[in-house]
Chain length 329, copies 4
Amino acid sequence: MTAIAILGAGRIGQVHARAVQQVPGATIVAIADAVPAAAQSLADTHGAEVRSIDEIAQSPDVDAVLVCTPTDMHADLIEQFARAAKAIFCEKPIDLDVARAAACVDVVTECNGLLMLGFQRRFDADFVALKQAIDGGRIGKVETVHLTSRDPAPPPLDYIARSGGLFRDMAIHDLDVARWLLEDEIATVQAVGSVLVDPAIGQAGDFDTATILLQTHTGKQCTITCSRRASYGYDQRIEVLGSEGMVTAQNTRESRTEISSAYGSLKAPLVDFFMDRYAGAYRAEIQAFVDAVDSGTAPPTTGEDGVAALMLAEACHQAAHEKRVIVVS
Amino acid sequence: MTAIAILGAGRIGQVHARAVQQVPGATIVAIADAVPAAAQSLADTHGAEVRSIDEIAQSPDVDAVLVCTPTDMHADLIEQFARAAKAIFCEKPIDLDVARAAACVDVVTECNGLLMLGFQRRFDADFVALKQAIDGGRIGKVETVHLTSRDPAPPPLDYIARSGGLFRDMAIHDLDVARWLLEDEIATVQAVGSVLVDPAIGQAGDFDTATILLQTHTGKQCTITCSRRASYGYDQRIEVLGSEGMVTAQNTRESRTEISSAYGSLKAPLVDFFMDRYAGAYRAEIQAFVDAVDSGTAPPTTGEDGVAALMLAEACHQAAHEKRVIVVS
Amino acid sequence: MTAIAILGAGRIGQVHARAVQQVPGATIVAIADAVPAAAQSLADTHGAEVRSIDEIAQSPDVDAVLVCTPTDMHADLIEQFARAAKAIFCEKPIDLDVARAAACVDVVTECNGLLMLGFQRRFDADFVALKQAIDGGRIGKVETVHLTSRDPAPPPLDYIARSGGLFRDMAIHDLDVARWLLEDEIATVQAVGSVLVDPAIGQAGDFDTATILLQTHTGKQCTITCSRRASYGYDQRIEVLGSEGMVTAQNTRESRTEISSAYGSLKAPLVDFFMDRYAGAYRAEIQAFVDAVDSGTAPPTTGEDGVAALMLAEACHQAAHEKRVIVVS
Amino acid sequence: MTAIAILGAGRIGQVHARAVQQVPGATIVAIADAVPAAAQSLADTHGAEVRSIDEIAQSPDVDAVLVCTPTDMHADLIEQFARAAKAIFCEKPIDLDVARAAACVDVVTECNGLLMLGFQRRFDADFVALKQAIDGGRIGKVETVHLTSRDPAPPPLDYIARSGGLFRDMAIHDLDVARWLLEDEIATVQAVGSVLVDPAIGQAGDFDTATILLQTHTGKQCTITCSRRASYGYDQRIEVLGSEGMVTAQNTRESRTEISSAYGSLKAPLVDFFMDRYAGAYRAEIQAFVDAVDSGTAPPTTGEDGVAALMLAEACHQAAHEKRVIVVS
C-alpha cells in the first residue's frame, strides 16, 4: 500500500485525491494546505490527517507526495521532498523559469529521487490508443502531427497575468504530447499569437489565440492550434499522418446520441470541462505514479520531460513575440 | 445509338428524359403525352418530336420506350409495345392488381420482349456498393436485412386514394430491395400499419406508418420500416447483418459540412427530395436499360421482379389489415 | 450508509459488488454463496463477512440484498427477504414462469416491500440521454422505436438449455426498454425466430436469431432485432422516430480513434463484453437502488416491470414458435 | 449560347470540355493542340472543329477560350486573347514568375478583358456550403482556418522539376482558399518543408511535405498542411474556427457504406483522384465562367486572385528555404 500525502487542497488537489481513491494499492495519509479549513475538508472526505508540509516531509508513514500547490512553490517543494526521500508527483510546470526548473531536476537527480510530471494527456485512453496504433505500425513512419487544443472559455484575468502566458500555461501540455508523438528532437520553433477573444488578455500582455509550427531534425512537422475559447466545448484532438496511413483521436461528447431534424443531425455537445474530459486520464496517471513508486522504476513522464516542454514553450513565446524562427539548440 | 420514345411527359418522364440525355449512346426521338403542351415542351427541351402513342408503336426509328404514364395505363402499354417489338422500360408497378400484372408479363414473354421495371434503388451507387460488399464476401452469409424508408412528407390525399395503399405504392421499392439482398424466397409476411401522421390518410383507408417483418425459407429475416413523414428529410438506409460482419449504407446529405456549437455538432440535413436523392440512380438505371437493349441481354430488373414485389406488397396489405401472418405460397 | 448483502458470488455478483463499492453511502456487509470459497474470496475483496442466506435474512445490520443467484432461486429469495423486511434488488428475470413471477411480486406487495429489477439498460448514460431528448420534446411524439441487440457470441449450450429461450433470456431486456420508450401498452406481438448461428442451438429447442414486431394500442410500432452473434462486437443501439425528428443512441467503441488507409477509415471496434459496455449502467443502477432504499421511494424498475417484460417475452416465444400474431390482453 | 474554344487537348482540356458539355447555354466550337491527333480526337468527341490558336483568336464565332496548355504558354496566350477581345478562362498559375503574371494581368486590364482563374476549389459544393455557413453568421467572426491538402501520390519527377515547387504548384490552390476564407490581407508567411516521401524529390530541389502558417493583419491565423502522398486517398479538408462555433468540410468517399468487423467499422475509402473529387467543382466553375461571359460581370476568381496566390506561394517558398518569417508588404 503506497501512502500518499497531498500538498494543496484546491481544485487540482481534490481531483488527484479522488484519483488516488480509485487506485487499488494507494491510500491518502495526509493533507497540507495554507488554508486550514480547506485541508480539513479534503482530509475528512478521504479519512486522512491534516499535517504541515514540514511534518509531512518528516513523516515516516508517507511514501509519496502529490504537489498540487500554486506553481511558484513547485520547485522548492520538489527539492524539499527529494531530499526527504519521498517520491514526488508534481503538476506541470516545475517552474515558469527554465533555469530554475532545470536546477530543480538536477537536485532530484542528485538525490536519486523519483519525480513524475503531471502531463495527464499521455494517459488519456483515446490518446493512448492513438499512440498504440502508431507504435503498432498501423500508419508507417510518423510524418506530421496536428494537435488541436481549445478551452471552452478563458480563465480569470488574474490567473492569466500570473500564468506565464498561453504557451507556458496551456500549450505546454500540447508541446509534451508533440514530443511524445514525434519521438524526435525539435529543430525549429515558429509561432503566431493573436488577441481575438478578449482585448483584456492582450492588455495583460498575453495572447488568447496561437498557432505553433515545429519541425524536427529529421523533417517531421507539427502544428498546434490553441485557443482560450471554443464556444462548442473542450476541443482536444490529435491527427497523425504517417507514411502508410493516418490516425486521429476524436473528441469526447456528452453522449453518443444524435438528433435529426430539418436542420440536420446533431451529435451531442463536447464535454466542456477539463476534469470531465480527462477524469480517466487523471486516474491512469496516478495509477502509473503508484506503479512507479511500488516497482522503483522510472515514471513515464519525468522531470526532464517537464524541462523540455518548458523550453519549447519559451521558444514559442519568443517566436510569437519577436516574430522570428527559433532554432532550438 | 438507341432511339428512345418517352410515353408521358410528367415529372417522372422529365426525370428519365434528363437521364437519357446523360447516357452516351442513347437519344430521345419522340415524346407522347395526353396533354399536347406538356409533350411539346419536353420534346423541345430534348430536340425530339411529338408523336401519338400509336404512331410511336409504329415508328421504325424507335427502338425502345419509357413508360412514364399514370399506373392504370402501364399494363396496356407494355402489352401494346411488346407486340410492337419495342424494348420497354416501365415505372413500377405494372398494375395494382397482381393478376393483371402477371398476365401482362406473360404477354411480354410470349412476344419474346424486353421489359425492365423501374426499381431505381438497385442502381443507387451506395446501395450498389453495399451489395458488392455482400457479394464480395465482406460480411459472410446474409442473416438479417433492415431497411428504413421514410418520405419527408405525405403526398396529396388524392394521390394516396389512387395509390393502392402504402404497401403497393411505397413499400414496393423496399420489398424489391429486400428480394435483391436476401436472395432467397420469402416464406412469411407480417406487417403492422398505423395512422400517426394525418387522420385524413386513415379516412382514405390507408396507413401512413408501417413496419414489415419477412422471413425467408432458409430463415433469413428482414424488417422494413416505412413512414410517409420524416421531418428531417428523405431517410433511406440499409443495414445487413452477416455471419462475419455488418454492412450499412447511410443517408445522403446536402453537404459534408458539420457545424459545432454549444448545442453539439450539426451534420448537414438529409437531401429531402427523391429526385435529388436518386438522381444518379436514375441515370445508372437508364444506362442499364440501354445496355440491355444494345446487347440483347436480360435487363437487371424484370417484369417477374415487378410481379414478385407486388405480390409481397399485397401480402403486407393483407397482413396489416387482417392482423395475421401471411404464408407466401 | 446503506448496508448491503450480496446473495451469489458469481460473475454478476462480482459486478454488483464492484458497483456498490463506487456508490457513496453504500457498503457491503455480507456475502452468501453455495460455494464457500467463492463467498470468501468476494468477501475478502470487499472487507465483508461470509454468512448463510438465512443468517443474512436475520441480520439486523443488513438493510438490503442483491439477488445474484441462479434464476431458479430468484422468486423464493425475493419472498424470503420481502418477509424479512429487507430491500431487494434482483437480477432479471424473477422467474421463467409468468405466474410464479406474478405471485412473487404479490408477496412483495403484501409485505409492502421494496423490489427493484435489474434492467440496467435504463441506466446506461447514452440511453438515458436518448430518453431525456424524447422527454424534452426534441423529436415530438414517439411514433416508432427500433432496438438492435446483438451479443458478440452465443453463451454455452447448457446455459441456453436452461435459459428459457432467447426471448425470455435475452430479448427481455429489450422488451423492457421498449416499454420504457413507448410509454404505451403493447397491443400485438409478432416475432420470427431462426437458427442461423449454430444448429446445436436449434437442437436445444431455441433460436439464435430473432426479430420482434410490436404495436401499441395507439398505433406506435417497435422492432427488436436480436442475435446471439455479432462478429463485430456487442451491438446495442436505439433509434426512435418522432413526429418532429429522430434520435439515435450509437454503440460504445474501444476508443475514439480512426485509422485511414487505402481500405478506408477504420473506427475502433465495438466494446465486446457486456460488463464493459454497461459498467457505468451497473453503477448507476445500484446508485438508484440505494437512493430508493435511503429515501423510501419506489425504485425506477419494479417487480411489475419484471412481470410485464416477462409476459411480452412469453408472447414473443409463442408468436415465433406458433407463427401467429399474439394479441396481448 | 456562349461559343467556346479550348486551347490544349490534354487531360485538363478534356476535363473542361466535359464540363462545358454539361453547362446549358455553352457549346464547344473549336479545339487547338500542338498534337493534331489529340486536337482531332477531342474535337470529334464534342462535335467541334480543329483550328490553330491564331485562327481561334481571329474566329468571330468564338466568344471565349479555355487555356489548358502547359503553364509556360499561359501568360502569352492570355495576352493574345485579351487583345483579341475573347473572354479567357485560364488554369492556374498565370506564370511561375510573379512579375510576369502581374504584367499579364495588367494587359488584360488595359484591354478591359475578362479573365477567370481556374481555382476550382472555390466551386466545390462542400466548400461552398462551408463558406455559406460562415457568411450566414453560423460561427461568428472567423478566427483560424485549417486546410489539409494531401495528394494520393506524387506526380512524375519530371513534372515536379518543371512545377515551380510544391508551394507554387500544389499549395497555390490552398493559398487561394485561405484568402477566400480569411477575407483579410496576409501579414506574415511562415513555412517548413521536408523530404519524407521520396529522396528524388529532394534531389530535384523540391519538398514533398510542407506546412504553412499565415497570420493576417487583424490577427487571424491559418495553417495549411500539404503532402505529395496520402496512402489513404485524396485528403482535402477545411476547418474554420469562429468566435461562435466551428465549421468543417469533410472528405468525399467512394460510397456511404460502412463495414463492421472485429477490426472495427470501416468507412469507404476516400476518392483518390482529383478529377473525381472535383468533378462537380469543374462543372460549377465553367458554369460561373459562362455566366460571367453572358452577363458581362466580373468572374468570381480573377487574374488578381491568381497573382495574389502566386505571391503567397513565393513567400512560402522563401520562408521554407531560408527558414525565416516573411513579412508580406
